[in-house]
Structures are given as structure tokens and as C-alpha cells.
Amino acid sequence: MGLTLSEQIISHAAGRKVRAGDLVVVPVDCAMGVDSITPSIIDVMRDELGVERVFDPDRIAIIIDHVAPAVNIATANAQAKVRRFAMEQGIRHFYDVGRGVCHQVMIEEGLAGPGQIVIGSDSHSTSYGAVGAFGCGMGATDIALAWATGHTWLRVPETICIRARGNFQAGVTAKDLTLWVEQTLGADGATYRAVEYHGVDMLSLASRQTLACMTTELGAKAGIIPPSGEVAERFPVPEWLRVDPDARYERVVEVDLGSLVPLVAVSPRVDDVRPAAELGHIRVDQVFIGTCTNGRLEDLQMAARILRGRRLAPGVRMLVVPASSRVLMDAMADGTLAVLLEAGATIGTPGCGPCIGRHMGVLGDGEVAFSTANRNFRGRMGSPHAEIYLGSPATAAASAVTGRITDPREFL
């Protein structure tokens, strides 16, 4: 009987064959902390564990992205503490304000790779599955233990396999596929489990990041796409990492990509998913394109295709926050930014942006946001009396033009 990708990766790290359900302690290849959680990680490591030095400064990454730049004195002080710590510990992989969203930076900097175990203090650390890593989000205590010991404990997860065939129609993207899966499995449909996406070899790295990132919204522990195409060209793939035809999956979900339409998650549930075309009665105040889910060059380019020669509808504001400084530079170089700015968009510092409602685009009472992010919980982006709808960058751009939720195929 073959092994799932999670079983292969954890077996390799554990040095023995493990199966779903086994409890193991494994070394981690990298353990990442972000600005909002790292002050707690430092406190737990020093004050509660009594450990002064990290196990290996080269296998730790710290990224300031959640509130970047600082919004008040409390966050400024916390960030200063994080900078001091990175300096004292000799942590090379420290990325300060403006470098970008942690998960994008980790992949750009090669800190996650095929077959590795990478854990992060942000829930969307499943993103590393885009390059064939076992990426897993954890809290401050787990990350502090990893920084102190280089290890973490894992229960080897069962795997749900999403088996795709065909390809998307124009205007339909990886984000729409993730929303279809949300609708199919539900927001806790993969709790404690891993998700594998098969049949998506034609997808870019960026689109794979969208798929892997969103498995967190199914409750998944990891979301892995077998390395192929662009990923296999850019990253070394270990020989032992491959899809076993006789791997045991808890469930297999078949999907015909050609049958998908642009989809939207309706406030306040990520698994309340409907076709964009049926939501034309919902007007929007703020459109947000960005985040670890959909803030990459191909996302900005998709929005620019729709916004070229058009303007935002009256009363609509549009915030574009590139996922990284590299994305920002690339979008500047190829003219994408100019198109977005001419249409009336504004550009924010690369990072998490308004996704978490802490700065840079907080929503007021009764306001409606259309966002390319991953969560639409009540109060997530500001007022608990605001609404958040989630969809692709194409649907976001089309909705910005009309001022109401719009199927982007009207503009393509």
C-alpha cells in the first residue's frame, strides 16, 4: 500500500515509515514567526521554557507583515522587540516592513521546498504545500518549542484528495476552485486532515499558492500539490516524493474545472458560496486585492485586464496590496500598476494589508467589502456590522467597475 504525500514527508523526517493516525516528533526544516505572534514566542521561549538561544538561527524566519508599518505605539514597541531579538540571535532570514506577506516571502526566498516540513505562526502556513512542502500553522507555544528544540509533534493526518480534470474557462481561476471545494466540503470539512490537489499540473506556482493557502479554511493541517510544471523547474524535488497510485485517501472528490463559474463566499461564512452572477444586487464600498491568497503578479495582472481603460464605479474605493516587494516591482515594471492607478485604485505597503482589520482599510458600520482574501468572519476587517464577500481578483475588479458584485466574464 502506497503513502500519501503527507505520509511520505513525515516518514522521511521521522526516519521510519509512518501512517495516518501515528503520533510523531519530527525535526522541522524551518519555523517561521510573524510580527503579531513573535513577541509571545520570544516570551514563551525565554520565560516559560527557560531557553535563551534558538536551536539554529538559519532555520528560523521572522517576517513583519501583519501590521506593517506599525499603526500605534504598542505595535511599534512590539516590532522593536522582534528586531532586537532577530539581531541578538543572528537570524539572517529576518524581513522587515514592506518585504511582503510571510507566506509569499518564504517561497520567494526559498525557505520552503518540496518534501520539507515548514511550520509557521500564521494559520495560512498550509501555503507551503504549493511547492510540495508539508506546511502547517501553529500557535506561539508550538513555535517557541520548535525554536528551542528544532522539533515539533505531529499526528500524521488522513488525506482528502481533490482530483481535477480539464481546465478553467476564461475568467475562472484557482480561487473559484477553492470556493467550490469550500462549498463541497464545508469550513470544517478537512479538520485534522491533509488535502492533496491532483490534476492541476498546468497551474502556475502563484495559483498553487492560492489552492494551498485556502485549505486552511477547510480546517486542514496541510494542503499539498505534487510538485510539477513551474514548481519542478524552480525547486529541487527529492526522488522519494511522488504520488503513489495506491496511496490510501480518506475521500476523493472529483471536479471538472471546465464546469466551474466565478464564485463568491457570502458574508459571514467562507463556505456559503454562490455564483457571482447571482449576487448582482449586492453593492460594494471597498474592493481589496491582495493577501497570501491572491496578491501576486498574476492576480494584479488579471485585475488590470478588466480595469484597463475603465474607472472604479462612483463611491467605490479599491485597495491593492501586493503580496511582496518583488510583486510590487514586477507589477511596476510591466505596467500593471499604472493601469490600476489610472482606474482609480490605491496601492498599499506589501504585507497583509486590511485582511485582518488592524490598519490600512478598516471597514465602518454597514460597509460592504469585496476581498480576494481568505476569511469573511464577522468583524474580521473592522466593524462587526460590516460585510465581507470573498472571490477572485477578476471578480473583485469587475465588481469595482460596476459597484456591485459582478461576474467577470462580462468584461472578458
Partner: protein
């Protein structure tokens, strides 16, 4: 006696402590005051040590923020009982030593009801004497609870739970 605080399904970490009230944005000392500050404003005022949360499925979904379960711990929550927990919340709560039990008691217990949680027998007892059995935790979990959380476990044994000694 412990008061039951009843919640529905999919209680997310933004309901437990909204991101805007993170210790990172305010201060650590304020944290217990912010538990359910918008979803259930009376909670932080009225909760007493030992009270239990009884909720629907997928409790704690969303962010990795450990300050969500930590706020509940600082409020003195004695246990959380739900049919299922989001996985990061489960790890965080376990690490902090908050007892979690997978059981659905939402249809048999009322909000505000007084009950006793007997941790020696893993059973919830109502004032009328009705008993609801909980699943005893596996040894791995019990060891962490007994140590008072994962950091206390590490300090005591010098290793991670589940890691072979030496």
C-alpha cells in the same frame, strides 16, 4: 458549581478575541477583558473561574492566535466541550493546559445552567443529578494536562511530549 456558557457552531477566533484587540495591538494585561468582547459582551464581566463553554462543531476555527484560548484561560474557563475543534485551537488549548472534550452537549445543557465537571471521572453532572459521560483523554493529552501545559511539561521532562527520553 460551574456555569455553562452555550455557543453555536463555528465559533471563530475573531469572535473569541477580535484581531483588533490582540495583545499586540493593546496590551497583555487587557487580554481577559477582551474575551468575546463583541460576540458576547457580558462574558468577560460575568464569567467565574471553573465555568465551562459548551459549543457546537468546529470551535475555534480561523486564526492561529494563541491569545484566543489564552484569554479564555485567563478568564478561568475550566473546560470546553464541543463535538469538534479547529486543529490549531486544539493544539493551542492543549499547550496551555485547557481541558477540551469532544462531545455534543448543546441540546441537553442550557446557557446559564449550573453543573459540576468531575475531572476524576470525566463526567458532567447537572443539579438534577443527570450525568453526561465525556471521552477520557488519551495518555498523551493527560500527561500534558497533568504537567499544567506543554511548556511546563518541557521544563519538567526536558523534552517534547511524545518524544522518547534521552
Amino acid at each position: 458549581m460551574a456555569r455553562v456558557w452555550l455557543f453555536g457552531e463555528d465559533v471563530d477566533t475573531d469572535q473569541i478575541v477580535p484581531g483588533r484587540y490582540a495583545p499586540y495591538m493593546t496590551s497583555e494585561a487587557e487580554l481577559p477583558k477582551h474575551a468575546f468582547i463583541e460576540a458576547r459582551p457580558e462574558f468577560a464581566r460575568e464569567v467565574r473561574p471553573g465555568d465551562i463553554i459548551v459549543a457546537g462543531a468546529n470551535f475555534g476555527c480561523g486564526s492561529s492566535r494563541e491569545y484566543a484560548p489564552k484569554a479564555l484561560k485567563l478568564c478561568g474557563i475550566g473546560a470546553i466541550i464541543a463535538p469538534s475543534f479547529a486543529r490549531i485551537f486544539f493544539r493551542n488549548a492543549l499547550n496551555l493546559g485547557i481541558p477540551l472534550f469532544e462531545a455534543d452537549l448543546t441540546s441537553v445543557l442550557r446557557d446559564g445552567q449550573e453543573v459540576t465537571l468531575d475531572m476524576s471521572r470525566y463526567v458532567v453532572v447537572t443539579e438534577a443529578g443527570q450525568e453526561y459521560l465525556l471521552k477520557p483523554p488519551p495518555a498523551f493529552v493527560r500527561e500534558i494536562w497533568e504537567a499544567g501545559g506543554t511548556t511546563a511539561y518541557f521544563r519538567r521532562y526536558g523534552r517534547l511530549p511524545g518524544q522518547s527520553a534521552g
